[in-house]
């Protein structure tokens, strides 16, 4: 049940031999893209979120053969020449990472959301929450994650303020 599939991942073209029964999650992890995490395996937690084109998708419920001809992004491709992406930097600034297991999936969801809404001035916290509702963080660090996304959409807000506010409110 093997097929050859070709796709572009993080800007690189690859051709792989896959079993039609494999999920894209399995194939990506086998080939070293271990930022893609398996959490629930049934599309509820979002730890395996990747972008197909610019669309967040749970790679655990996506056949690897469906990726044929598509463009895929994982968090491995977001850092370029050692520079973090805007979203990655915002997560760092906001202290939005605790255990880190959900982070790669969340970064991809945030990246798609920020890119789609870069010029949208009417984005509310509710919109951010809704867009991230498919990603669970068992450390429950949601508040800082939302702030990281807010920082990306309102860059004039100084990073330092966000950081201090976060510390004050979380009582650290």
């Amino acid at each position: 049940m093997n097929r050859n599939i070709s796709f572009t991942i993080n800007g690189k073209s690859v051709t792989l031999l896959v079993d039609v029964r494999q999920s894209l999650l399995e194939v990506l992890r086998e080939h070293g893209y271990t930022s893609v995490k398996e959490g629930c395996g049934v599309g509820e937690c979002g730890a395996c979120t990747i972008l197909i084109g610019n669309t967040p998708v749970d790679s655990c419920l996506y056949l690897a053969v469906w990726a044929d001809g598509r463009t895929i992004r994982t968090v491995e491709g977001e850092t370029r020449n050692g520079d973090l992406s805007e979203v990655q930097q915002a997560y760092l600034d906001a202290g939005a990472v605790q255990c880190g297991y959900c982070t790669p999936g969340l970064i991809m969801t945030s990246t798609a959301f920020v890119e789609k809404n870069k010029d949208n001035t009417s984005i509310s916290r509710h919109d951010i929450k809704r867009a991230h509702a498919g990603n669970l963080c068992r450390c429950t660090g949601y508040e800082t994650i939302i702030r990281a996304v807010e920082q990306c959409l309102t860059p004039e807000k100084p990073n330092q303020d966000t950081h201090c506010k976060c510390k004050a409110e979380s009582g650290e």
């Binding site: 049940m1 079993d19 039609v20 029964r21 494999q22 999920s23 399995e26 395996g41 049934v42 599309g43 509820e44 979002g46 979120t49 669309t55 967040p56 998708v57 749970d58 419920l61 996506y62 056949l63 053969v65 469906w66 969801t109 809704r130 867009a131 991230h132 509702a133 498919g134 990603n135 669970l136």
Partner: protein, 292 residues
């Protein structure tokens, strides 16, 4: 690794039908958000897969000059939520679609799959029922069209023959023009949850009186259900607060909610009545905004 024995990728609807006819035990795989979950373990009904994921001919939404809206079965919930033909003409369906699962599931899951798996909780079903939607099925015997409420036969059971593909869902203009409609999903969480009760209502109001009411529920019986008796009673009623009481007192006669680990029958009955009132109130408000 998913657990299935054979896999065929269809390049067209006709090829999918031929593949399904060749092996009557095979199942169509579209978005995969339900079927692939079941394929994690050995499942005797899911051994042979005909892959219709990404078939372009199932992904179209169109409106013809007469106002007939045709939605391809492979349209995702995200597309239903954002497409101007849906948000502009039948926003109640966008409300239903936007309440499904989470964003990743909505990006892949399809409306055809939501209907064909026969789930009593399908969020697209209640809005489609009050839109008097018909489903178009194509198989080796040709094409047929049946009303959605007849397509549902029991929990997980729909009137799809083994070789058939549900190709599209059709909504006629008389079922959405001059109607006010609303869907409300009640669940334990705001996202990533199955409805405890879902309620869609639509009202056609003339001169302050209810010309026609349509009301449909999910998780209030073995399939998504229309409230035929209540709809009959509401005919000619005053389109004001008294309608809320009238519907509340009648709606339970149309439905068969049951106890499950998600919610008790009593609680569901309470939610059914409450949602009827909320949905109708929202409809009356819409109506008031249009005709001040």
């Amino acid at each position: 690794m998913f657990d299935f024995e054979s896999y065929h990728k269809a390049e067209s609807v006709d090829e999918a039908i031929a593949l399904l006819a060749q092996n009557p035990k095979s199942i169509p795989l579209a978005g995969g958000t339900d079927v692939l979950v079941r394929l994690h373990q050995h499942h005797q009904d899911y051994r042979h897969v005909v892959d219709i994921h990404g078939l372009k001919e199932l992904k179209e939404i169109s409106k013809n000059p007469n106002g007939v809206i045709r939605i391809g079965s492979g349209v995702t919930f995200t597309t239903l939520t954002e497409h101007p033909l849906i948000t502009g003409n039948i926003p109640v369906l966008a409300q239903g679609a936007s309440s499904v699962g989470g964003p990743q599931v909505r990006n892949v899951g399809t409306v055809g799959g939501n209907i064909c798996n026969g789930a009593p909780s399908a969020d697209s079903a209640a809005p489609l029922l009050i839109l008097n939607a018909t489903v178009v099925l194509k198989g080796t015997q040709g094409q047929r069209e049946i009303p959605l409420h007849e397509f549902y036969q029991g929990p997980g059971k729909v009137d799809r023959m083994e070789s058939e593909i549900l190709t599209s869902i059709v909504i006629a203009p008389e079922n959405y023009q001059c109607w006010f409609a609303k869907y409300h999903k009640y669940a334990m969480r705001d996202a990533m949850d199955i409805a405890t009760i879902g309620c869609a209502g639509a009202c056609n109001i003339e001169g302050g009186l209810v010309n026609q009411l349509r009301l449909a529920y999910t998780v209030a019986g073995p399939t998504p259900l229309r409230c035929w008796k209540t709809e009959q009673i509401a005919k000619g009623a005053k389109a004001d607060e008294s309608l809320l009481e009238l519907v509340k007192s009648s709606v339970l006669k149309d439905l068969r909610p049951r106890d499950s680990w998600r919610a008790s029958k009593d609680f569901r009955q309470h939610v059914i009545q409450t949602l009827a009132q909320r949905v109708l109130q929202a409809i009356l408000n819409q109506c008031g905004e249009v005709k001040p």
